[in-house]
């Protein structure tokens, strides 16, 4: 789909405008390339392998689900929530940093695409890899459901929470990646900041009167809420706001390159 028939009206004697893809087309093309590129290097396989290995370890070794005396995936979701601040920066670190370093960003941005199409494309490409990781854990609820009566509401909530929480961490990683040319720097900055926010939720006792504010700022608090199977609009709004603010900051970062 394209708007090839559009002609310029902005300037006298202007050329006929060339083909410009629709926003969905451009975003999907960039997301597809981004997603496939993870599997052209060891990164995609390492991330998926590490994720599934760690989830498997955290899930089965302590037999956490058995200690609760009921069929539940709560321990698995808790385990994965610990992994998100580590895995998501690893997925997002290269989105812009690597392209800036190698110069491919210039090639991409000088195509007839809007900045936000590039940003969304990269964001969804990275989110796609996280989705593959999460889909890899689908065997666990199937196994557990055979061992006892599994309440699927919290399972669906848990997966939704994982996707939203992961998307928030990834959007932060994409933002950090847009500010640097070094993907290792991007990884460590987003990992450390993500880990701090994650841990703050575990140490609310130290924040006294500000505890409730701090708690609300921590992604893990909202994730835990959704993972209980309660879909509260406040949690959805929180994740949507984090994603929106981070991607908006990414857009500003790209824009600032033009003026620097």
């Amino acid at each position: 789909m394209s708007d090839t028939e559009t002609t310029a009206t902005t300037a006298a004697g202007a050329l006929r405008r060339g083909s410009i893809g629709t926003p969905i087309n451009n975003t999907l093309a960039i997301a597809r390339r981004e997603f496939v590129s993870y599997f052209s290097s060891p990164l995609g396989y390492i991330v998926i392998g590490m994720f599934l290995l760690l989830v498997g370890f955290l899930f089965f070794i302590p037999f956490a689900f058995l200690t609760l005396g009921k069929a539940t995936l709560q321990p698995m979701f808790n385990s994965i929530s610990w992994l998100l601040p580590l895995i998501c920066p690893a997925i997002a670190m290269r989105t812009f940093a690597e392209e800036s370093r190698t110069g491919t960003l210039e090639m991409l941005i000088t195509q007839p695409v809007r900045d936000w199409e590039v940003i969304l494309g990269k964001f969804f490409g990275a989110l796609g890899l996280l989705a593959v990781c999460i889909i890899g854990t689908f065997s666990y609820p199937v196994i557990i459901s055979r061992m006892g009566e599994l309440d699927w509401g919290p399972v669906a909530g848990g997966y939704l929470g994982l996707l939203l929480g992961g998307a928030a961490y990834i959007s932060f990683g994409v933002m950090v990646s847009s500010f640097t040319k070094d993907q290792i720097t991007a990884f460590f900055v987003s990992f450390i900041v993500g880990a701090v926010f994650f841990l703050m939720n575990k140490a609310l006792i130290f924040f006294g009167g500000a505890a409730s504010v701090i708690e609300y700022l921590c992604p893990d608090y909202h994730f835990a809420s959704i993972a209980r199977g309660v879909i509260d609009a406040r949690n959805i709004i929180y994740f949507a706001s984090v994603i929106f603010i981070c991607l908006l900051a990414t857009a500003r970062s790209l824009e600032s390159r033009r003026w620097s």
């Binding site: 902005t10 050329l15 060339g18 093309a29 590129s37 491919t104 090639m107 195509q111």
Partner: protein, 347 residues
């Protein structure tokens, strides 16, 4: 000429990085069908100008239009009508050649039914047939440049901006890329930056020389060389039995008697002859005087050649050291612009 014939236009275009003016009030026009060489030493502002024209960076001051679209107001339309090959074209190394061209076609919104034909066409033009099955990281630098050129051509743009397309290529690869550019330049407007002046003379009908962010010359390569205001002679003199001629001193003195302000440089030669390069200001012809000088001194004149100063020399004069023309050259350049416009409107 109609306004629509102006494909690239800048007016007082500037880009400031901190205290440094990378581009300093550049104004020029490039018309439909022109292949223009954009020359200048490293750091002169060539790439910055090209990045502004392709909307990768924004100007600090001034305006620029490509295909009639303003780079600031309508960047999407600008990018849709041009093909751009950045300096040292960076491509996604993990992608296959066809996969990369398909991605470029996707972003250019080329309909799926025409995509295969377009890719086939650019593969043909850029000589990529032999490497279609390879990934980009398996390609030589020359082939990567060709893939970069292919992506710039995939949507058949009327305007091409090529930033040093032959940098780091070996002479054979370079010659091939230049021949592609000449071929595609028959139907397109091309702005080409390079350091290789031989390529410029071969591919470009017009040259813009930029130095320290300013345009210091604009015109056809031959016109620029002629307007530089000096002529070079090559003289080879054989003294026969006259041993003194084997030492160049007497010949140089004689030459200086003929043209007092000549700059004489001795060139390497065999033992028997004295070979001199004589640079003389002005466009006069001193060959008769040099001939008479040889006759009067009973020297054999083995060679006498008059040649206009080459573009390389003009480039050096305009861009090297403190002597490089600044504001005066700007006005001189304006004259040249006017001269070029006159000559092009005659055509």
């Amino acid at each position: 000429m109609a306004t629509s014939d102006v494909m690239i236009e800048t007016r007082e275009l500037s880009k400031v990085y901190g205290a440094q003016r990378a581009v300093d009030k550049i104004s020029f026009e490039i018309r439909r069908g022109e292949v223009v060489g954009f020359l200048g030493p490293n750091g002169a502002g060539k790439s910055t100008t090209m990045k502004i024209l392709t909307c990768f960076i924004s100007p600090s001051e001034g305006t620029a239009k490509v295909g009639g679209f303003d780079v600031f107001d309508d960047p999407l339309s600008v990018r849709s009508v041009l093909g751009y090959l950045p300096q040292r074209a960076s491509l996604y190394p993990e992608m296959g050649v066809v996969e990369y061209l398909e991605f470029a076609a996707d972003l250019r919104a080329i309909p799926k039914d025409k995509r295969r034909g377009k890719i086939k066409e650019v593969v043909e033009i850029c000589g990529l047939k032999d490497v279609l099955a390879k990934t980009i990281n398996e390609l030589s630098y020359g082939y990567r440049q060709r893939v970069g050129l292919a992506q710039a051509l995939i949507h058949d743009p009327p305007i091409l901006i090529l930033d040093e397309p032959t940098a780091d290529l070996d002479p054979n690869e370079s010659a091939e890329v230049i021949s592609y550019i000449k071929e595609i330049g028959k139907t397109r407007t091309i702005m080409l930056s390079t350091h290789d002046l031989v390529e410029v003379k071969e591919a470009c009908a017009r040259v813009l020389i930029v130095n320290r962010g300013k345009i210091v010359a604009d015109g056809a390569p031959d016109d620029l060389a002629a307007k530089s205001g000096s002529v070079k002679y090559v003289l080879a003199v054989d003294g026969g039995k006259d041993e003194t001629v084997r030492k160049s001193g007497p010949v140089i003195e004689a030459v200086k008697r003929v043209v007092s302000d000549a700059v004489v440089k001795e060139l390497p030669s065999d033992d028997r002859a004295t070979l001199l390069e004589v640079s003389v200001k002005g466009s006069g012809d001193h060959r008769r005087e040099f001939f008479r000088m040889a006759v009067e001194n009973k020297w054999d004149l083995l060679e006498l050649r008059r040649e206009a100063v080459q573009l390389e020399e003009v480039f050096r004069q305009l861009t090297v050291g403190e002597g490089a023309p600044r504001r005066n050259a700007g006005s001189k350049a304006s004259e040249t612009v006017a001269a070029t416009k006159e000559s092009s409107s005659d055509v």
